[in-house]
C-alpha cells in the first residue's frame, strides 16, 4: 500500500476524531460551567462535586474507558456497550472537570464587582450570573479552552482501546495490514498536529481581538 492510500485511510478517521472531541467539549461546557459557578458562589460544595473533580483528575482516561466499556458494557449494552457513548461520556466528564478549573479562574478574573453591579440593578443571583458573568467568563477563558480542546483531540486517541475506528486505531491497523511502521505513525502525527495547530492559533487571536474590543 503506498503512502497516498494510507493517507486516505487515515484521513477517513478524522471525522470520527473530530466528532468525539466536539461532543466531549460540549459536554464539558454543560458540566463544567455550572460546577464552576457553584463552587465559587455556593460555598457548601457538595461532596459529590468534589469527588467528581478528584476522580477525573486522578484516574487515567484509558482506565476509565476500559472500565466503563468492558466492565459495564455487558450489563448496559445500549449505553455503555456503545463505544462512542463511552468515549463521549468519559472524555466529556473529564473535560468538564478541567473546564470547571478554567472557568473558576476566569470568574476570579472577571471580578466580583460585575456580580455586584448585576445584582444592584435588580437581577437575582442566578440571572446575574447568566446575563452578566457568563459572557465575560467566556471572554477570559479562550486561552484555556483552546488548549483544553486541543487536549481533547489528542486524547481522542485513547478511544482506540475500546475499538473506535478513529485516527489512532487506523494508524495502528495500518501497521499490521501494510506492514509499515513508519508511514502510518508519521502521517497520523502530522494529521493530529494539522488539526490542533489552527485551533490554538485561532482561539488565541479571537480572544485577543475580543479583549481589545472591550478595552481589556
Amino acid at each position: 500500500m503506498d503512502v497516498w492510500q494510507q493517507f486516505i485511510i487515515l484521513l477517513e478517521g478524522v471525522p470520527l476524531t473530530l466528532s468525539i472531541s466536539i461532543v466531549s467539549f460540549l459536554i464539558g461546557i454543560v458540566v463544567g460551567l455550572p460546577i464552576a459557578f457553584i463552587r465559587v458562589y455556593e460555598k457548601e460544595v457538595s461532596f459529590v462535586v468534589d469527588a467528581y473533580e478528584k476522580i477525573f483528575r486522578g484516574v487515567p482516561e484509558i482506565v476509565l474507558l476500559l472500565l466503563f466499556y468492558f466492565g459495564l458494557g455487558p450489563a448496559f449494552p445500549s449505553t455503555f456497550g456503545n463505544a462512542f457513548f463511552v468515549a463521549a461520556f468519559v472524555l466529556g466528564l473529564r473535560s468538564g472537570a478541567n473546564q470547571s478549573q478554567i472557568y473558576r479562574g476566569a470568574i476570579r478574573g472577571v471580578g466580583d464587582e460585575q456580580m455586584i453591579a448585576g445584582m444592584s440593578i435588580g437581577l437575582s443571583k442566578w440571572r446575574a450570573i447568566w446575563h452578566v458573568m457568563v459572557p465575560q467568563v467566556f471572554n477570559f477563558s479562550t486561552a484555556g479552552l483552546g488548549s483544553e480542546y486541543a487536549l481533547l483531540i489528542k486524547d481522542s486517541a485513547y478511544v482506540y482501546v475500546i475499538g473506535l475506528a478513529e485516527l489512532m486505531k487506523r494508524a495502528i491497523e495500518l501497521k499490521y495490514s501494510a506492514n509499515d511502521v513508519v508511514t502510518p505513525f508519521v502521517l497520523s502525527a502530522l494529521l493530529y498536529i494539522a488539526i490542533t495547530f489552527p485551533i490554538a492559533f485561532w482561539l488565541d487571536r479571537w480572544g485577543n481581538r475580543r479583549k481589545k474590543k472591550l478595552g481589556l
Binding site: V63, K154, Y160, I193
Partner: protein, 224 residues
C-alpha cells in the same frame, strides 16, 4: 468479587506495573523539567533560528498525542535508523521529550513573570547575565512553576496508561493480563483505577504542601 487480589502472581504483576509507571513518570517529568528549562532559556535568549527550532519542537510534541509519539519512538525510530535500541530506553526518552515540550512553556512563563526586574537587579550588582539566571531567576522560577509542574505530573502519569499497548507491563498491562484468565472485568479496573487515584492524589497533595512552604508570596504564574 475481588478474590483476584489474593493471588500472589497477580499481586506481583500489579506491584511491578505500578513500579514501572512510577519510574517512567518521574523520569519523564524530571527530564522534562531540565530540558524544558534549557529550551525556555533558549527561547528567551536564542537567535531566530534557535527560537524557530524550539517552536517546532514544542509544536510537535504538544500537537500530537503522546500515544502516537510512543509508537513513533518504539517502532518508527528504530526502523528508520536501522538500529536495535532497547524499547525501554526509547519509551523513557519520549516521555521526557514530550514533557519538556510542555514544561518549556511553563518555565518560560514563570521566568517571564519576574524576568525584567530581577535581571536588572542582578546586573546592577555586577553579576553577569548567566550568574543572574543561575542565582536569581531560576531559583525563583522553579518555585513559581510548582503548581504547573504538579499538573504536568498528573497529566504524564495518566498518559503512561498507554504503555501496555506498545508492549510494556505497566499497571494497565497488569490489569489486562489478569483479565485474560479472570472473568471479573469491573473489579479489576476498579482496583487499577483506585491505585492510580491514590498515587496521583497523594503526590499532588505532597506537592501542594511543598508549594505552600516554598512559594514566593505575591508572585503567581500568569497563565497564558
Amino acid at each position: 468479587m475481588f478474590e483476584f487480589l489474593f493471588n500472589p502472581m497477580y499481586q506481583t504483576w500489579i506491584v511491578q506495573g505500578l513500579i514501572l509507571t512510577v519510574e517512567i513518570t518521574l523520569f519523564g517529568v524530571l527530564l522534562g523539567l531540565v530540558l524544558g528549562t534549557v529550551l525556555a532559556i533558549g527561547d528567551i535568549y536564542g537567535s531566530k533560528p534557535v527560537k524557530a527550532a524550539i517552536s517546532v519542537y514544542a509544536e510537535f510534541f504538544r500537537g500530537s498525542p503522546l500515544f502516537v509519539q510512543l509508537f513513533l519512538a518504539v517502532y518508527t525510530v528504530p526502523a528508520i535508523l536501522n538500529v536495535r535500541v532497547d524499547h525501554a530506553v526509547l519509551a523513557f526518552l519520549v516521555f521526557g521529550l514530550n514533557s519538556a515540550g510542555y514544561q518549556k512553556g511553563y518555565m518560560k512563563g514563570a521566568m517571564e513573570t519576574i524576568f525584567d526586574e530581577q535581571m536588572q537587579a542582578g546586573l546592577s550588582v555586577g553579576m553577569s547575565k548567566i550568574q543572574t539566571l543561575r542565582h536569581v531567576i531560576l531559583p525563583q522560577a522553579y518555585r513559581i512553576v510548582i503548581p504547573s509542574w504538579t499538573n504536568e505530573f498528573c497529566s504524564l502519569t495518566k498518559s503512561t496508561a498507554t504503555l501496555s499497548f506498545v508492549g510494556f507491563m505497566d499497571l494497565v498491562g497488569a490489569g489486562r493480563s489478569i483479565l485474560i484468565n479472570n472473568m471479573q472485568i469491573l473489579p479489576v479496573w476498579i482496583v487499577v483505577g483506585v491505585i492510580y487515584f491514590v498515587w496521583i492524589t497523594a503526590f499532588s497533595k505532597v506537592m501542594d504542601i511543598v508549594y505552600e512552604k516554598k512559594k514566593i508570596p505575591g508572585v503567581e504564574l500568569i497563565m497564558q
